[in-house]
Symmetry: D2
Subunit: 286 residues, 4 copies
């Protein structure tokens, strides 16, 4: 073998070192949704090397409207970010589960993380999907080692899951979250079968902001068992609702990190948010 | 028009605001290379709105080995980064020109920014490509408003262009640069027609490090008219050569910024480097 | 001279290189305030080296309640930050003027940047102080090369000066600004000679938020000639008023950067803000 | 109580919330050094609130030449940084111990963390000081919950302590470290009683770089049980020695983070380094 070959090999060695992680694309049959549902799973570098009984913390990472789980993989570059942060020690090795709760809504595909007429996604998520995932993969599977995050519609989903299932997650990281429908966006529902109209109506009914404002002491006590992080760009059209959510949490005495960074409602923001999200959820695994 | 529609429009409004920029894909005939050469050009948001005689500063942005100009567009997300930084004011609106000096070298395609037997790319770049670009697009076209940057092989290209054409550029930003061949990579040249062997030999002969170490006072005086920025990850296999280049510049009294950030030889590094590169070259346009 | 000495000298050489800047402490007689007023001036590294007619852009940097100009020097470390950013090129060399509009308010000393009964500070600032400073020091002295920034009471002062004297400043950077009195802080004015009560009343009457909300198109047109940056910590008790100011600006179509970083109402926040403030005002000098 | 008072109280409330931590200044009698030795201890916010048996991880934080422990307090602002990072969750609550191994060396005061003729500081540190501290304060006191960091001479001290006492520390963070004497600083020792000459000679004999280069597999195995972080500015006169140390570690297969940030050998660098250091050592407590 000549040295020339060695040079080539040497060039790609660092990539190889970091690339033992993998993203698995898989499907699960849902009786609740009466459909096969796609999902992607990031398995960290040591996943295949460790003996079978090593178990990992898990992050559920939710996409936005008209996106699917593949957007986190191809545009969010979740694998590259997670590999880097695990390598430098800034985040723990973890399993990252990306469910598919969307697709092109204008083409008539269901979108949304909450239960709505015709689409019981929340029930599916907690009764079918999550148990299936945590059986199939090497996941610790308790509140202390489970987090949820997401962007836009998925940021609202992550926040809602944290609010209504506070016994399930140790932390929530919401990016550019659809906490409610922005003031000017109140839709007229002239076509009751329109999936976007149904989604809009559901998001309004399940307003994260109202939930916190109306929460009693028992609920607030539960919310304080979760660590919260709200992250939204100064040019994001959803900013005001994120502000309101943060203020509601703060005024209710629920500790909540809040950041407004430079940016809009776009992938540059969400990709960079991963660099804060993965360390945050790692710090709160215990 | 119902409010529903308004909600949808509202969602995508911010994206629209930021997306008036465009990336043009074009081709130029080179007599020197006896070939049609592809290139991409980022035109900033105001480019098409301004009256025809508004002219912009220009950044030449060079890709790495076995890549093409399209990698900066599709994986470097250069348009999104440039839009964001121009919008927030952290970088100037500029034209970003991405030439193609590569492709799959293992499939027998030429790679490289310097002149080598059979591939006079440097001559092409300065005699044909750059003049053609600066005539065709609204570019100011003087040293004070022209910069060059690149990654890996293109980082070495950018550095070399800055060293040997210091009258042409106001600043150079080198990412993970191939400043020379790493120690262990000295190739044996048993196949003199092997394009990778020719590239390797040329990079060694045109070592950026040796050039600085051997530079006389007249050359050093010229190098001091350029602003330099060297940026390389702590896990990059090219780090040591970047250190040597920086040390040579510093010891020769040529002011040179140097950063070692967390990272390897990969797109996460180069993408994040754009957020430092575009403000840097902007600061040095005058 | 032995080598030993050389080692010692070598150790302090880098400090020397960066320390040619100086902070001048000076006093000016004010007829308006009928008092001698103290101030500090940062003169950049090249100030004393350049020929006498080199002129610099200027930043007016305002302190908070019960502080003085010396707090920016001793706790804000303004000299060290400005030296570093000028050395790396991230900010321009500029003159930084720190007026004294305070001292221990609980000890009966006047505080405040606006005109109030018994303390015509704004009149003093624009009629006496600023002209005096710009005559005495090598300052360009036009809107394009003049900026104002400040923290807390001085953040409100900087914002107010920008709003009411938009023809004077190219940019405003407000840190943890007292944009108005926070909701819960509405004071009862039982002692009309109480200087804190007078300050509180004046800040409420000169509310930056109300001014923007009530501004007509002519005023808004003027505000758009200034670049604005609002920076406030997520744990700051003044956050909500900063949010309201940003929202008022955005809704009025006045471009305004907004950041909420991790932090409270303290010097760690303000010191780190200088690293964003000086590059921001530099970008907007032209 | 009028509302006015409330406003004032409200203003200082956030500071109060964050300021329950304290810095204790204390002295210990050393038989080894035959002297009373000063030290400072940062006790985190919950320290006094928790029941007496709550124990904390500990960071030993070492100052530079001609400095004392007070410099970390007054110029490093260690309390403010530690409070902030604990409050936001980016670092654990920990006890931070700042020993005094210095003072004005030009006034004839001993400086240095290693044993040298007349100054057995390393023996004192491990045999007297550390056991005393960990008995007196609520410190867990095992390798997994003990870290060491420092700047300049103290960065070399921290690195040396990590190298020679790898069973004692889980992580080491070295800022602008005196890993060895810089090339040009080799002193002539014409006055054998000169404390700076003795310090210089000792640092050369205890070169961190040589130790790693000469380490056998058993030692390297021990070094791999520690997490390492080397952080040095691009304008620091000690940079080259830090590069050599990192390269030695990397080439010996000891995982080591390395950063070169913008900056020199000054407090702006060391203060900002705390924001990386405290999260780093926290991640490596387990």
């Amino acid at each position: 073998m000549d040295k020339h070959f060695f040079f080539i090999a040497f060039i790609f060695l660092p990539l190889t070192v970091l690339s033992r992680s993998r993203v698995v694309c898989d499907t699960v049959r849902s009786e609740i949704l009466n459909a096969d549902r796609h999902f992607s799973v990031y398995l960290p570098p040591s996943y295949d090397n460790e003996c079978a009984d090593k178990k990992y913390p898990v992050l559920y990472l939710l996409h936005g409207m008209s996106q699917t789980d593949m957007d986190w993989v191809y545009r969010g570059h979740v694998q590259e970010v997670a590999d880097r942060l695990a390598y430098s020690g800034e985040a723990d090795e973890m399993v990252i589960v990306m469910p598919d709760a969307g697709g092109d809504i204008y083409a008539g595909v269901w979108n949304g993380y909450f239960d709505m007429p015709g689409w019981s996604y929340e029930k599916y998520f907690f009764d079918e999907f999550l148990p299936y995932i945590e059986r199939k993969y090497n996941i610790i599977g308790d509140k202390n080692h489970r987090a949820v995050a997401g962007l836009s519609m998925g940021g609202g989903g992550a926040t809602g899951y944290g609010l209504w299932h506070s016994d399930m997650f140790s932390s929530v990281y919401a990016m550019s979250a659809l906490m409610d429908i922005p003031e000017k966006g109140a839709a007229k529902f002239d076509r009751p079968d329109d999936k976007l109209a149904i989604l809009t109506k559901t998001v309004m009914e399940r307003s994260c902001i109202c939930f916190v404002k109306e929460a009693d002491d028992i609920i607030l006590g539960k919310l304080r068992t979760v660590k919260w992080f709200i992250d939204c760009g100064d040019d994001d059209f959803l900013l005001d609702r994120n502000i309101e959510f943060f203020q509601a949490m703060r005024d209710a005495g629920v500790e909540c990190q809040f950041r407004v960074r430079d940016g809009g409602h776009d992938w540059e923001y969400w990709h960079s948010a991963l660099y804060m999200c993965l360390p945050f959820v790692s710090r709160n695994f215990k």
